[in-house]
């Protein structure tokens, strides 16, 4: 019974913890402009993150070492440092977006301006990272994130033409008013939102913290292969709601309030309250994950003591990095930059930075010196190589498309 409970809890938290501010905003933006015609990208992105997370989780479980520890060893200190710098810049950008997302969620239930919430949300995130146990943090926000299932209920309640939605999702087409360049830009952004590097840093570092070994591979795989795809369905439900209500009205999403509007129209105040709870949990949970990922990765690279399972005094530099990152994130947001714009940048730059960590993990997962019998098999290698190509194409295309389309205009 205990084992079944552990598997169920792992899957539920993986579903609830899958969506973050990038998924919320990008899926709603895409749904409101392209309907479900980019649903294939969500499917591709979810499959990609499953392959990436399974490999890095397996590496963590078998070698007992986390991502940046191995990257430094495999790539050497110089290239590893450049890799760390780029990956952490993107993770910091995502951290800023998540803290901004928490502030936006609170604004929606208080109507107090988001910038007044920013210092408090920053302080709350830091206190949680400092004081709250890892398992509690992971489980509470993961389970509360399940509130976003309300988007699936709302989509059902809106009574869409399912045949038309399926037609949109199953054909590569776009609305006449949109250009193929913007379609491609949003495809890359959606891929970046689904396949964010911090998810893997957090997942594998968490595995090392929880002392995973080869016996835990089954549990890890059930979280990844069941939890993540079900989390991906939440992304599709958000896009579907936007496609059904916002697209016909000519509303293109550029605020968090617009993301939840279809839920209000379908389910009223109660449904909307559940959606806002989901926004809060998803952004708070992701802020904790990105904040920890910054501390984890930098500490792993420099060989410092790190983690939530050791006393803060013993991992002082790890906690100092988390604190500095939080102060920096709050400072950036207090310049009154729009958190939604930061989110848009973060998903595109996630796509740019993804190969930096994906490639070394693929190499290590193939290395029998590290992995022994648990090295990639034929299927893992085929999928790993296929997604390496996809990840590289997305990374190369991201910035030119961003400039060419003026960020999807």
């Amino acid at each position: 019974v205990k084992k079944v409970f552990a598997v169920a809890l792992g899957i539920l938290t993986a579903i609830g913890g899958f969506v973050d501010i990038g998924d919320l905003v990008t899926n709603a933006q895409v749904g409101s402009r392209f309907g479900l015609s980019l649903a294939w990208v969500v499917v591709l992105g979810v499959a990609g993150i499953c392959v990436f997370a399974e490999m890095s989780g397996r590496v963590a479980a078998v070698s007992g070492r986390a991502t940046f520890d191995l990257i430094r060893e495999r790539l050497g200190p110089r290239v590893g440092l450049a890799n760390l710098f780029a990956s952490m810049a993107v993770t910091l950008l995502t951290f800023i977006a998540e803290i901004g997302g928490i502030a936006l969620s609170l604004t929606l239930v208080t109507s107090v301006h988001e910038f007044l919430w920013v210092p408090f949300t920053g302080a709350a995130v830091w206190i949680v990272l400092w004081r709250v146990k890892f398992s509690l943090l992971e489980n509470v926000f993961g389970l509360l994130g399940l509130a976003l299932v309300v988007f699936a209920v709302a989509l059902w309640q809106l009574g869409p033409d399912w045949e038309q939605l399926w037609h949109q999702a199953s054909t590569v087409a776009k609305p006449q008013s949109e250009h193929w360049s913007t379609y491609s830009y949003y495809a890359v952004a959606l891929f970046g939102a689904a396949m964010t590097p911090y998810e893997v840093f957090f997942f594998s570092s968490g595995g090392v913290e929880e002392h995973w070994d080869a016996r835990k591979l089954g549990l890890m795989r059930s979280n990844v292969f069941v939890g993540f795809p079900l989390g991906g369905l939440l992304s599709l439900a958000i896009a579907g709601c936007a496609a059904v209500t916002l697209l016909p009205a000519g509303i293109s999403v550029d605020s968090l309030g617009q993301v939840g509007l279809p839920v209000a129209l379908a389910l009223g105040k109660l449904g909307l309250a559940v959606a806002v709870l989901g926004f809060f949990a998803a952004t708070f949970g992701a802020a904790c994950e990105t904040g920890l990922s910054l501390g984890y990765s930098i500490s792993q690279y420099f060989g410092w003591q790190w983690g939530k399972y050791v006393r803060p005094r013993e991992a002082a530099r790890f906690h100092a990095v988390v604190l500095l990152a939080t102060v920096l994130a709050v400072g950036v947001l207090l310049t009154t930059i729009d958190p939604i714009m930061v989110t848009e940048f973060s998903v595109v730059f996630s796509a740019v930075a993804l190969p930096l960590t994906y490639f070394p993990i693929l190499v290590v997962a193939n290395d029998r010196d590290y992995m022994g019998d648990h090295a990639n098999g034929r299927l893992s290698n085929f999928l790993g190589s296929f997604f390496l190509v996809v990840v590289l194409v997305a990374a190369v295309a991201a910035l030119p498309l961003m400039v060419w389309t003026k960020m999807g205009q």
């Binding site: 009205a249 509303i251 605020s255 209000a264 105040k269």
Partner: protein
Amino acid sequence: VNRARRVRAAPAVVLLVLIGGGCTVASPSPAAYRERTALVITDAISHVATAQKVLEASQDDKILGAYALATVRSSDDTLNTAVGAYEELYPPRSMDPTFNRASSLLGDATDLVTAARIALYRHDRADYPGLVDDLEQLTAELERLEKELS
């Protein structure tokens, strides 16, 4: 010596010209101006329709008060910024009729979205149906202009 100085100063001059060029208000070509107008009109449709949907949901008691206000306030802010940036452009003479029509509709859009925000703040429920009608009409006019420009 003078020649060497000039060569050394060249990058600084180029930089100053670039910075200066970046700080001036753009005077786009007719085609570019038309494109910018279409973009700001599309933005306006989005925010006017948002305000309309929020007011309709408020009428039906389907939306939390703070949520409604925050959503329309965000639309109001974003629309004002977009319209402000558009109105800073110098329209080419041949585009004056487009400029006049777009300016008038955009002015109506910002006024109506602001009116919706104030009505929501004051809970003036009696004003909601009138505002919804006005927003709907304005959306139709904005869509007509958008079609003409595309």
